[in-house]
């Protein structure tokens, strides 16, 4: 059967040569190369469950009265959007499962991107010739954050309302163009009837399409440039060492694919996420404490909570306090990340290409900077949930916030200092290893290496 198919396609496409080349492409064996794949497979889950949900979802604010299966909301006035979410959750077989899987997959998708980004940063995999993929990856992270926000807003429950208000206020706060920008994205003062249809189009069409395109570009570039290798893995600058695409790498990758699927299905089945029926439909005057964004925007939320209430002024023009933590800070973070590979090239005056990764301790200031940044983001993330934490601890949010304000300044400094010390120590300890590693990378004997299949 396989032979028949192979012959059929080869006769029409001449695919045998190409397929063979693909199958013999070599991928390095290290778990840290799999982080991006977790993100990729979460994206696959997102698309599959998302298509299912899009069939039932209505992006409309038209008011309707609920008469469905969920008793406590019967007779309640709500938007058609919220109604459709309830309907697909309670009246469509497997609807609730797929909705929860979709949301969990989104959370895990961005967690995996985040871990992937950290791995790339700490092993300096962004260096020439891989700057392009660094830029594409960051763009995908931005798009994923935006789409997460839109998805959170589409349910049109009380939390969506809070998210939309804050998102709108952040855009509104931008100097000069803010009001135009906010009205462009939200279609008026938010939330308003124009908002949901817009978000729906962005959420299910533009951003997923852009993500899919960028993922293809990302993978294509990886394929062309090949992965990096760890120092000592044996490849050096000229070779790549690992397993072939077929069969070992394919098996491992498929196993991970199904593992990701299993994990998300387990969460989707057993752990509630965003129980919109508990929060109730969006209501202009309704709000709840503990209205947080999903975790991936928690650091911005935390920055907004910790930042002191100080207006800015340019002459008689107002720059609202929200602009600094809500817009300027994340914009600066991403601007820094976008520029980082080029910044480092100039700072270190290193314009060569690199195929061998850098161990984190070999560039102490970069690692220390990264860890300090992580510590800062972690404190902000905690601050984003400070009211929930305060209630859980039986403490006051004012006390918790005071502690976190201090930590936000102290924690990165201490972390950076400790990590710098650690890197220096490791560097001294491993000084004698450089040559050994270089020797290991010098090459393998013919006997150990399966020869690359030659064209017959």
């Amino acid at each position: 059967m396989i032979e028949f198919l192979a012959r059929w396609f080869d006769a029409r496409l001449g695919a045998a040569k190409f397929t063979r080349k693909v199958m013999n492409h070599v991928f390095p064996d290290h778990w840290s190369f799999m982080l991006g794949e977790i993100a990729l497979y979460s994206f696959v889950v997102l698309v599959m469950t998302g298509v299912f949900l899009a069939v039932f979802y209505q992006g409309s604010s038209v008011p309707v009265i609920y008469h469905g299966a969920y008793r406590p909301l019967r007779g309640v006035r709500m938007s058609a959007a919220y109604h459709s979410v309830l309907h697909l959750s309670f009246s469509i077989p497997a609807g609730l499962l797929f909705r929860q899987m979709h949301h969990w997959a989104a959370d895990i998708f961005i967690a995996a991107i985040f871990a992937h980004l950290a791995r790339i940063y700490f092993t300096a995999a962004y260096r020439k010739p891989r700057e392009l993929n660094w830029l594409i990856g960051l763009t995908m992270l931005l798009l994923a954050l935006a789409n997460g926000f839109f998805g959170y807003s589409l349910c049109d429950d009380v939390l969506s309302g809070a998210g939309l208000r804050v998102g709108y206020a952040i855009l509104l706060s931008v100097p000069v163009v803010g009001p135009w920008l906010a009205f462009l994205v939200f279609g008026g003062t938010s939330p308003n009837p124009a908002t949901l249809p817009r978000m729906f189009v962005w959420h299910i069409f533009f951003i997923p399409a852009a993500l899919a395109f960028l993922i293809l570009a990302h993978l294509g570039i990886i394929w062309r440039q090949m992965h990096t290798n760890y120092p000592g893995a044996g490849g050096g600058e000229k070779l790549i060492v690992g397993s072939r695409f077929w069969p070992v790498y394919t098996m491992k990758s498929l196993a991970l694919f199904f593992g990701v699927f299993a994990g998300i299905a387990a969460l989707g089945g057993w752990v509630q996420i965003d129980p919109v029926w508990v929060y109730g439909p969006y209501n202009p005057i309704g709000i709840v404490p503990g209205a947080q964004p999903d975790w991936y925007l928690g650091w911005v939320e935390g920055a907004m909570r910790l930042f002191p209430g100080v207006n800015g002024h340019v002459g008689r023009w107002l720059i609202p306090e929200l602009f600094f933590p809500g817009f300027l800070f994340p914009a600066l973070v991403f601007a820094f990340l976008y520029c980082y590979p080029f910044l480092e090239q100039w700072l270190c005056f290193d314009f060569r290409g690199h195929n061998v990764l850098r161990r984190p301790w070999e560039m102490p200031w970069a690692t220390a900077l990264g860890c300090a940044g992580l510590a800062f983001v972690l404190v902000l993330e905690i601050a984003g949930g400070d009211d929930v934490i305060a209630v859980a601890m039986g403490s006051s949010v004012i006390v918790v916030r005071r502690v976190l304000r201090v930590l936000a300044i102290v924690a990165p400094l201490i972390t950076g200092w400790i990590i710098h010390r650690w890197c220096e120590a490791m560097r001294r300890k491993h000084a004698h290893l450089r040559e050994a590693l270089a020797g290991a990378d010098a090459g393998y004997s013919e006997a150990e290496i399966a020869p690359q299949p030659q064209p017959r």
């Binding site: 895990i108 991970l256 994990g263 508990v278 309704g286 709000i287 404490p289």
Partner: protein, 234 residues
């Protein structure tokens, strides 16, 4: 609270039995009023509307207490800050007070219109402090949080809406008629055991625990990847 309710139920049956043939006369009613205002009104107010100190409650509202057994029990045992009355009052006197409270003062019913209406009113009037699922929330005043309502007796919850203990605002009858208060109380009772589709609820604390769980799963998947690669040649 549970033992309260159980004892209350037993006492209620006993009282119902004891109350057979009890004839209420005008004189007795006047005596009951006098007893109430002498012993109870200091903390609970003349109309049983409840009195409030700055932070703590002085005495809760009695306007939603429909169970005479509960009143008897409270007078006998003196829960929380309440003094015990078993040595001060005789049993017939206590009975009189209990009847007075449940028949004259309890003007707020405990059965509302519908869960939907109660839920709507709860979300608009109560949820911003007590949370979407009565789990409690933060207040602006240092050291103080809005309490969780899961373990509060229904009579207290309904009474507190009118009375506004501590920092809680009062809701007048013009704003929330008795029926609406009852609807809210009914929804609060429903939230003790809400229907539970879709798995573990993470205490309904929203995206904060959800983010933690998502990271736990992401890290587990990374551990799986480590284990997967360990079988390879590294």
């Amino acid at each position: 609270m549970k033992s309260w309710a159980a004892w209350g139920r037993i006492l209620f049956v006993l009282l119902a039995w004891a109350g057979v043939g009890w004839s209420q006369t005008a004189a007795k009613s006047a005596e009951a009023v006098a007893l109430f205002s002498r012993h109870c009104a200091v903390c609970h107010g003349e109309a049983g509307q409840g009195e409030s100190a700055v932070i703590r409650m002085a005495g809760p509202s009695l306007q939603a207490v429909h169970n005479p057994g509960l009143v008897m029990l409270a007078m006998e045992t003196g829960p929380s800050h309440m003094p015990r009355f078993e040595t001060i009052l005789t049993v017939p006197q206590m009975r009189m007070i209990a009847r007075f409270v449940t028949r004259r003062l309890a003007v707020i019913p405990l059965t509302g219109e519908s869960l939907g209406r109660g839920g709507n009113l709860y979300r608009v009037n109560c949820a911003s402090c007590h949370g979407a699922v009565t789990q409690g929330g933060t207040l602006g005043f240092a050291g103080l949080n809005a309490p969780a309502l899961r373990r509060k007796p229904m009579a207290l919850v309904a009474g507190a809406i009118r009375w506004g203990p501590g920092p809680m605002p009062r809701f007048s009858a013009a704003e929330l008629p008795a029926r609406d208060v009852a609807s809210i109380a009914e929804y609060v009772r429903y939230l003790r055991r809400p229907s539970h589709p879709g798995g573990a609820a993470l205490h309904w604390n929203g995206p904060v625990p959800e983010g933690a769980v998502a990271w736990a799963m992401a890290l587990s998947l990374m551990v799986f990847a480590i284990w997967l690669e360990k079988g390879g040649r590294g």
